[in-house]
Amino acid sequence: MRFGIAFLGLGLVLLVACGGAAPESAPPTTVTPGVARGEAAPQDEARFASDVASPPPPKPQRQIDRDSDGTGDAKPPADLKKREVDKTVATNDAAGSGTQSTGTTSTTNNAVAVDSPHDAQMLIYTAHVTMSVYQVSPALDAIEGIARGMGGYLESRNDTQIQIRIPRARFDEALHKVEASGDVIHRDVSAQDVTDAYFDIEARLKNARAVRDRMQALLEKAAVKEAIDIQKELERVTGEIEVLEGKLKLLSNKIAYSTIEVSFQPRASAAVQLMPRLPFPWLGELGLPKLLNLESR
């Protein structure tokens, strides 16, 4: 009996201790520049990992939905899916071992470190391909078909240019197919590392969300006069969250979907002029316009 009471008492002490820890690590009630990163609760991290794993379609999000997951139609790239799993596992591990105070960020970083260096980077791949001007319309159709057939989509198209978005994991494959659809005059492929920018926005968003939660909690208890002030601040923070969420979704989409832009035209005159010019003026007269002009010689 004594042991039972002692055990129950110990359990209560532990429960209070765990419950009381949360307010100590809670973020400040106002958003200030330079707020430390990675102070959000683990559940925020897990939820946010889901947001990242489901890059949105290119449409604005009008309403903040803290618990919304997979709001986009687009499928995540394989490496982001992996990151989601890693983050979730890491978060669960941290929660289970009671090491929340070490910060989710460090745990997440450990998870990322397990990935290969290439996967740990958030890269935006972009390819610009210049093709010769021959049977352009069928080629444009073919390229659009490549995008749709590989889980991508058409972003823009006109008479001489097309821009498609391809799931990152299939970027190389798509580029090869696109290049096979015509005579490639010039190709320019770039990878932009946005890892820092991504995690910076992510951390700012976590903090803003935490601030909003605290304000909502305060609002319920506040007097009328205080409530008005809190409400104003809440609106400001909510607006900031919307902006950050928009930026993050845009960035996630750019990472998840590589861009291939194809132009059917001669190389830009500036680029051609940079090439050494041969001392044969007649070279410029070659071609169909002069050959087929039978009226004037």
């Binding site: 001007v133 010039h186 070659l286 071609g287 169909l288 039978l294």
Partner: protein, 152 residues
């Protein structure tokens, strides 16, 4: 004596002519005054023309050089699609190359063949082009005309 003079005059004319090409049936040779040494057309405006450019110096008979130079000009400069490349030979045995291009003009596909023979002293260029359907129909005649070229 008169016959001899006529013969000499004909030989002189032939000697002055920088290049010799036969006109295929269905083509009409045009009187040229511009940069073309020869030009002929079908009623459907499939045109075959010859240019002769004087060249001097070492390497002017380098087939690879002219292949690269003409390809750069047509593809990078003019946006033509290089579809095929063939080694050819003039009727008098000079080695040359044929670059077959495709190009859209006003959204319609055209064919353009550029055949060249570098002799060392001159570069003979045979251009042939037209709308793709019409050119395809006349392709064998165009090929016959190109094969009839004598550059020396």
């Amino acid at each position: 004596m008169k016959t001899m003079k006529k013969l000499l005059f004909i030989l002189l004319l032939v000697g002055c002519k920088p290049v010799d090409i036969k006109t295929a049936p269905g083509f009409l040779q045009l009187k040229e005054e511009g940069s073309y040494a020869y030009r002929a057309t079908t009623p459907e405006r499939v045109v075959v023309a010859v240019r002769v450019e004087d060249m001097e110096g070492d390497g002017s008979d380098d087939l690879s050089f002219w292949t690269r130079a003409l390809t750069l000009q047509m593809r990078d400069g003019n946006g033509y699609a290089l579809l095929e490349t063939h080694d050819v030979q003039s009727l008098d045995g000079v080695k040359g190359r044929q670059l077959r291009f495709g190009h859209d003009e006003d959204g319609k596909p055209f064919s353009y063949w550029l055949t060249f023979f570098p002799t060392g002293k001159k570069l003979v260029l045979v251009e042939a082009g037209g709308m793709k359907p019409q050119f395809d129909a006349a392709a064998s005649s165009v090929q016959w005309m190109i094969q009839s070229v004598r550059v020396r």
